[in-house]
């Protein structure tokens, strides 16, 4: 693990006793953990363990029946997607959720919608402030395009891009919001080794350069061990371990869950 430019700080987000059920299915049961400022937290666990559900609870897409979420010092029973976006939570999805009919540039520009305020009359006339606003945000989106090395697909409709690039554009859209907390749901799934390496580099760079706190779900254990500061392990909707990558790797319960002995 390389030395970080920024020190891991106080708790940014705290999940306490969260339980979530769908009909009879218990997706999450009494899960508690915290995410600290500037860290990279990995959430791991077998398929169906409730990892995606956990991210969905954090950004208000799912509403848990029990528990509380404290973000930036404010405690809520549940988040709302709009409030979460407004207060600096951005995310990507396990099954890419890009706007397929729009170009790469426009997709990433949508990440800045919350920062744009000109009313529709000014926009219809494309007068002074509207033009100025558009160009200012365009400039910062171009930084992201450079950073992610996707200049050549700027004008391509994202529906036509290969999977790996779509994942990258989706990361770009999340970054465009300049989030304080970035949630990545399997950002490297379905990628080849080279693409994975690129993605790891982007994630670490974002964390390093902008101090963005990152919570990510990942299956590839070598990647998890490489890039995360801390790991939370879920299994059947429960948290079974929480600690540094080395601690977690040595945890017998985790080994069991991964080898699938316990549930036979």
């Amino acid at each position: 693990m390389t030395q970080k430019a920024r020190q891991i700080g106080d708790t940014l987000l705290k999940v306490e006793g969260v339980s979530l059920t769908f009909g009879g299915v218990k997706a999450l049961t009494d899960v508690s953990f915290e995410i600290r400022e500037h860290e990279v937290l990995a959430i791991i666990g077998p398929n169906g363990a409730g990892k995606s559900s956990m991210l969905n609870v954090i950004n208000g897409f799912y509403h848990p029946q029990e528990g509380a979420i404290t973000y930036k010092g404010e405690t809520r029973k549940q988040m709302r997607p709009y409030a979460a976006a407004k207060s600096g939570i951005a995310r990507t999805f396990q099954n890419i959720a890009l706007f397929k009919g729009m170009s790469t540039l426009d997709n990433i520009m949508t990440g800045r919608l919350l920062k744009m305020h000109c009313n529709f009359l000014l926009q219809a006339l494309y007068l002074g402030p509207a033009r100025e606003e558009e160009l200012r945000h365009r400039a910062s989106v171009e930084h992201i395009i450079d950073f992610l090395e996707i200049q050549s697909i700027r004008r391509t409709p994202v529906g036509r891009l290969p999977y790996g690039l779509q994942k990258r554009v989706e990361l770009g859209r999340a970054l465009a919001a300049e989030p304080d907390l970035l949630l990545l749901d399997e950002p490297m799934a379905g990628m080849n080794v080279e693409e994975k390496e690129d993605m790891c580099r982007f994630i670490l760079d974002v964390n390093d350069e902008f101090g963005t706190t990152i919570a990510l779900i990942e299956h590839d254990m070598s990647v998890v061990m490489d890039i995360s500061d801390r790991v939370v392990v879920l299994d059947y909707g429960r948290k079974i371990a929480d600690g540094s990558p080395d601690e977690v790797r040595a945890n017998p319960e985790v080994i069991e869950a991964y080898l699938g002995i316990r549930h036979n």
Partner: protein, 357 residues
């Protein structure tokens, strides 16, 4: 001049963000607009009145519907109804305030149509697709029923007809029987030029992106902080404003007088066909589609006699229906972005010609 962008390097995002970043496109559009303003010098009364004026007005309505359906993804079959609001409200306003400029009355009527559209857009917050289309169909029927039923809307005229009264602008007759076709043509052209530009500005900025985001994936849109309710309602309001203005012009600059039949469901469908054939999610496509749908019947009337054929009128109608039907199926399945997209592909090919790689 060869169509090329080589050598035209953009040195600022401002230049790259222009509506027509390629110089040849800009020249072409400016020439087209200038030519459109010169048309009255050569076109006769028949062409202006029977072809060009309705084409321009329906282009405006098609842009309105395209904002809602092509950009924001909310299917509407209420276009005729919202146009009727524009037509009837222009009539009410200009008869109540004869001194108010009639063109301002058209714009105010557009605002009323926007409000009506907003109200009928409320179901879109809960329902989508086919069910929403049915809800907008209800708007279509309810609005026409209301205008038929309540005498106040037609100033209690026994025939139930609204008639455009004579009104002037800068001393020139612009509506009523005395208004000449060239004058009315120039008015509708100006409306279209201004509002087409405004629509283009809307769709390439923040609002257009939030509409398209809602259209492409509303869940993801919500998660990046787009509020679906406000965004959809704004689309309904702005779209209905366009339809309302088009409806006002339809009565005052084209028909001269109208009953509710002028705005029936057939009109809603024909505007919908315009945007499907012209291109969903394209301002240029709206205009191309309107041109296509208004020109084809004229072509079918005039072309056969030119080559010495006579075509019975009902056969002509049948050919028209079959042609539109098959084109709609073709575009929906093969190229949902319509003629506008075909045009774009042709341009791309031409740009690379003769070396495609």
């Amino acid at each position: 001049m060869i169509y090329r962008e080589a050598g035209q390097f953009k040195t600022s995002y401002g230049a790259d963000q222009m509506i027509f970043p390629i110089l040849q496109d800009r020249i072409f559009v400016i020439l087209a607009v200038v030519a459109a303003y010169l048309v009255p010098l050569i076109a006769n009364e028949y062409w202006l009145q029977a072809v060009l004026i309705p084409f321009l007005i329906l282009s405006l309505a098609a842009i309105g519907l395209n904002l809602l359906t092509g950009y924001a993804g909310q299917l509407s079959l209420g276009t005729g109804g919202f146009m009727a609001v524009g037509g009837y409200m222009t009539y009410k306003i200009t008869t109540a305030f004869p001194d108010l400029n009639v063109l301002i009355a058209v714009l105010l009527a557009g605002l009323i149509a926007a409000l009506v559209g907003l109200v009928f857009g409320i179901p879109s917050l809960r329902i989508k697709g086919f069910y929403l289309a049915v809800a907008t169909l209800a708007a279509q029927f309810f609005i026409l029923w209301l205008f038929n039923k309540v005498g106040w809307f037609v100033n209690y005229s026994p025939s139930g007809t609204i008639t455009a009264p004579p009104r002037t602008l800068l001393g020139i007759m612009v509506t009523g029987p005395e208004a000449t076709a060239p004058v009315r043509y120039l008015i509708v052209l100006t409306f279209l030029a201004f509002f087409a530009l405004a629509a283009k500005n809307l769709v390439r900025g923040r609002i257009g992106r939030s509409w398209m985001a809602i259209r492409d994936m509303d869940i993801a849109a919500e998660i990046i902080g787009i509020r679906p309710y406000q965004t959809k309602l704004l689309a309904f309001a702005i779209s209905s404003f366009y339809c309302g203005v088009a409806g006002g012009l339809y009565v005052f600059c084209y028909l001269g007088s109208a009953e509710t039949e002028a705005f029936d469901i057939a009109l809603s469908f024909s505007v919908l066909f315009m945007i499907i054939i012209g291109g969903l999610g394209s301002i240029l496509g709206s205009i191309l589609g309107a041109a296509f749908i208004t020109m084809v019947p004229i072509f079918l009337t005039n072309a056969p006699p030119l080559i010495g054929l006579s075509m019975p009128i009902d056969l002509q109608k049948h050919i028209e229906v079959m042609l539109f039907g098959s084109l709609i199926v073709f575009f929906l399945i093969v190229e949902p972005r319509g003629i506008a997209r075909l045009w774009q592909i042709a341009k791309e090919k031409f740009r690379l010609w003769p070396f495609p790689y």
